[in-house]
């Protein structure tokens, strides 16, 4: 298992190198450049040339690329053309927001998805099973952005239960330390932050979590039903092991394999794919920052964000795989693939 981790981690730089190169090339293949954005409100031809030179964009592409890779190797993500700030700092501000949202969504997805899946699997073919399957499919089929708007209208506007935007109410002063509100609330001894923070997190997390819960429900249901049919479960039952114990020790543990994979995949997708939720709910996450950076041709920011998301994706997958191996005794014994 350690060998496998080492192998996967050893491959990480290759992945990053390819992702970095692809983003670098793709961004420069786009029409328009930062200079057009910077110069758009007041420009003379001379000023534009001067800008291009100052940003180093007059250098040949291979040279720009070498400089970029050189900086990367030294751990320097560069500086934003537009904001003049360190990309690493900007990532440090936006990534925790996205992780918060992804984790909260994951919790919603697991509670709702697993709950519905297990309830449905308890009596396959029953009316409840049918209804839950329909609900799951519907959740999956909802366009996320549309569902988000609907949530705002219902829960913010009509019922007035929950705030519709942002991370904290404007009346609260919050000085970030780690940018994770929960951790900061503990570190700085401000428990009063947690309530408002959760309230603001609820709608976006529900939107992302519920729309992804559908798939998990179907998997959990299928996994449990199929495992329950297997011989070792039957024999456990025949041996008179109490049903609860059979369910938790045998059925659930085996079904967990498939479920774990889905959870890992979905979490990875949430990290990079929460852009839409971030736009609808005005959540200042890394996805929105990355999209904005592409649209304004702020090369360094787009490159930095893409790289960080790629690293996270790989790490999440690695952790999922390890959990998978841990959960499955057969795989644990094998010395890696």
């Amino acid at each position: 298992m350690i060998a496998e981790i080492a192998r996967r981690l050893a491959f990480l730089p290759v992945t990053l190198f390819v992702v970095a190169t692809l983003v670098f090339l793709a961004l420069r293949a786009l029409p328009g450049s930062t200079v057009d954005m910077l110069a758009s409100s007041f420009s003379t031809a001379g000023l534009r040339d001067q800008l291009i030179a100052q940003l180093g964009l007059d250098q040949p592409l291979w040279k720009q690329y070498l400089i970029y890779v050189g900086d990367l190797v030294r751990g320097d993500l560069g500086r934003s053309f537009i904001t003049g700030r360190d990309v690493a700092t900007m990532v440090g501000e936006t990534l925790p927001v996205t992780i918060e949202l992804a984790v909260a969504s994951l919790v919603v997805m697991m509670v709702v998805g697993l709950g519905m899946g297990l309830a449905a699997a308890a009596r396959p073919g029953s009316l409840l099973d049918g209804a839950l399957r329909f609900v799951a499919m519907t959740l999956f089929a909802l366009p996320w952005f549309w569902f988000g708007i609907l949530m705002i209208v219902v829960f913010s506007l009509w019922l007035g239960w929950l705030p519709a935007f942002g991370r904290l109410p404007s009346s609260v002063t919050y000085e970030p330390v780690t940018n994770f509100v929960l951790i900061d609330a503990i570190l700085t001894g401000r428990p009063e932050l947690i309530g408002p923070w959760l309230a603001h997190l609820t709608l976006p997390a529900l939107t992302v979590g519920l729309t992804t819960a559908g798939m998990l429900m179907r998997l959990a249901r299928a996994g449990v039903i199929e495992t329950a049919r297997l011989d070792f479960v039957r024999s456990a039952r025949m041996k008179g092991v109490p049903p609860g114990r059979v369910f938790f020790r045998h059925v659930l543990r085996n079904a967990a394999l498939g479920i774990l994979t889905v959870i890992g995949l979905q979490f990875g997708a949430m990290l990079g794919g929460s852009v839409v939720a971030e736009v609808v709910f005005g959540y200042p996450g890394i996805g929105r920052m990355m999209v904005d950076a592409v649209l304004t041709r702020d090369y360094a920011v787009a490159q930095g964000a893409a790289l960080v998301l790629a690293v996270l994706y790989v790490l999440v997958n690695l952790v999922t795989d390890l959990a998978y191996r841990w959960a499955d005794p057969r795989l644990r014994r094998e010395p890696g693939r």
Partner: protein, 288 residues
Amino acid sequence: MADSAGQKIAAGGVASLRLSAGVALAALPWLVAAIFVLAALLAPWLAPHDPVAGRAAPMQQMFSDGHLLGTDALGRDTLSRLLFGLRPMLVVSLGAVALALAAGGAYGLVSGTAGGRTDWAMMRAVDILMSFPLILAAILVLAALGPSLFNVTLAVAVSQLPIFARLARALAAGEAARDYVLAARAAGFSELHVMLREVAPNIARPLLVQATSVVALAALTAAALSYLGLGVRPPAPDLGYMVKEGQELLFIAPEQALLPGLLIAVFALAVSFCGDQLADVERRGGGA
């Protein structure tokens, strides 16, 4: 006696009723999907007005004269725009899945049949593609190539490529280990022959089933791109973009954002159920 016979008949009746209700329920998603396709095909005849050039008083309410679902800010008939808006949704979702199926399937077929180092390298490439933020890939494709229906299709297809590549690879690798493939290789057939004539026919069916079940995902991805304003081509109607346009009118004419979103959801739901049924059949067929 008579009683029990009557009960039997009644029970039989209930059973057949259940059966036919089950059949009807199973047929429903196919029916809905068919209605979507028909409505899109027949849009020019079904739509009461021209969806683009039509010009009436703007922002008419639902159920107003001649405009069942009202008109938008530019005085165009909402019903007609919804009908024509089905077209890009269907073209993009089906087209993207077909593209991803063809490209990803071929890639996985080569990787799985070849095995060894080639297989390893090809699959690591897929891993890398998957770690590339998908939304970024789609935006890059659209910004580089410009907004057109084909480019949107391409962008969505890119996001689905890994699904098919991985599945095809797994299936092909499974087949490649079987006796008949070994026999074909031993008989001196070329790798190309083995791939196309021996392995491909045997992995086509599960791939097609998978394709059906991701059509919904493609439709949702395409709608999300439109919602972000990417790849849209106004004045041509597009459901995802109609949600975007209608969003600011939520407090004035909520139907303008709600209806197009509802259509996307119903379509995605119907094709998901269709895919589910096919997968069920495939699973049973595979088990038998």
